[in-house]
Amino acid sequence: MVVVNPGAVAAFGATEAVASLQPIVWHEPRDSYDVVIVGGGGHGLATAYYLATRHGITNVAVVEADYIASGNTGRNTTIIRANYAIPEAIRFYDHSMKLYEGLEAETGAAIFHRKKGHVWLAHSEMGMRTERARVLMNQAMGVNTELLGPAGVKALVPQIDLTGGGRYPVFGASHHVEAATARHDRVAWAYASGATSRGVHVIQHRPVTGLLRDGPGGRVLGVQTAAGPIHAGIVLSAVGGRVSQLAAMARVRLPVRTHPLHAFVTNDFEQGLAKIVASTELACYVSQTERGQMLIGAEFDSQPSFSRLSSFDALRSYAYKITRLLPFLRSMRILRTWAGLCDISADFSPIMGETGVDGFLITTGWGTWGFKAIPAGGEALAERIATGRTPALIAPFGLDRFRNELAMADQASAGTR
């Protein structure tokens, strides 16, 4: 037997890992809370967890339309990294990466966090300029990213074809040493168990159908659901996928479009791929899951939609490209494909904080980088809710930045396009 993931096995034996799954406590729902969070994904649950643990606020409900982590938290490609291009984003994701590192120790739940390193390939001089700029900006911000030539790439990723099948030659790469992966639904469960054991309510299968308001244009006072209203001091939208519809209930209009993003996993690869390998120019990336499958993403449909069916065109397109770079993938089989709904903002950066409507906060725009942001996003929004002040870490990510001509264009840091 080949041990694909010696790091995880050393940290947690299989029995220990299962044993370290903390139970989620299911409470009888009330009809009023201090804080109602709409959306039981990573961001919503993390916000509830940090409200309870950092601020002692436990009169909180997380209201989820389906089951927790049924949306993008359970559909992303589980990569944790901070090699962004603009200082505000690097600072934010670097903090998130550090919170992830401590999450197993803090919650006692195994999330299979594992440091791998993220190799971001360039296939042209233009691409190399982008990676060089990224490395310099990362190093200036204290993030460990180094520039590699083709030989350096080959040393880290021995399976790579540096000619890219004669079509996508590898000019070099940036190597983000601290990048990691973690088991995504376990992250949601860790936050859910930590929050509910302290008294937070998680209410599943309760779609929100409207917002309660103090007259038109007035404060948001809670949410309407099929099973009756739930009153709240503050409502946070942590919705993924249907955020434009929820915000519209408060007449908040968002610079967000929702695109399905496609991914697949193959059968197990015994030889092992140590690194996360990505290419922005080709809009594809690959890493190995804890059970040994090759996890390959991702391309989103150019047209927005709310369909979670895999698109054959997208699968064909990035399967073609990734097999030029890693020829061994040609002999592997696709086991499972899926799509998640990416809320992509106009400047490719997330939106967190005020909406301009009293009592209604938002965290959105997480399309393609939401998973890695879960701890930092949750911690910062919990602080905003508890103290009424927006933490400096997320202040640049307010919705008002578009009005103030302070948009933060960072498309080059998306793993896809």
């Binding site: 434009s244 610079p255 449909d301 047209q303 369909s307």
Partner: protein, 80 residues
Amino acid sequence: MHTLDCPRCGRRPLDEFTFGGERRPTADWLTDPDERDFDDVWVFENPAGVATERWFHAAGCRRWLTVRRDTSVDRVLEVR
């Protein structure tokens, strides 16, 4: 959604077309001129339902089409 029925070229693969964005009027309840400018420049309606869009047949007749599409299931209803 794998194909589009171009009125000039017939049923063609989606790869030949370029998505040109949603076409929408600015919300009539927005009266403040600054708010209307913000809306025009930045906001997407992003409907989960029927959207009217522009598509460009880049690898075909190179004309702009107006497409009505149900975004909740990604299905085309009408091409003009």
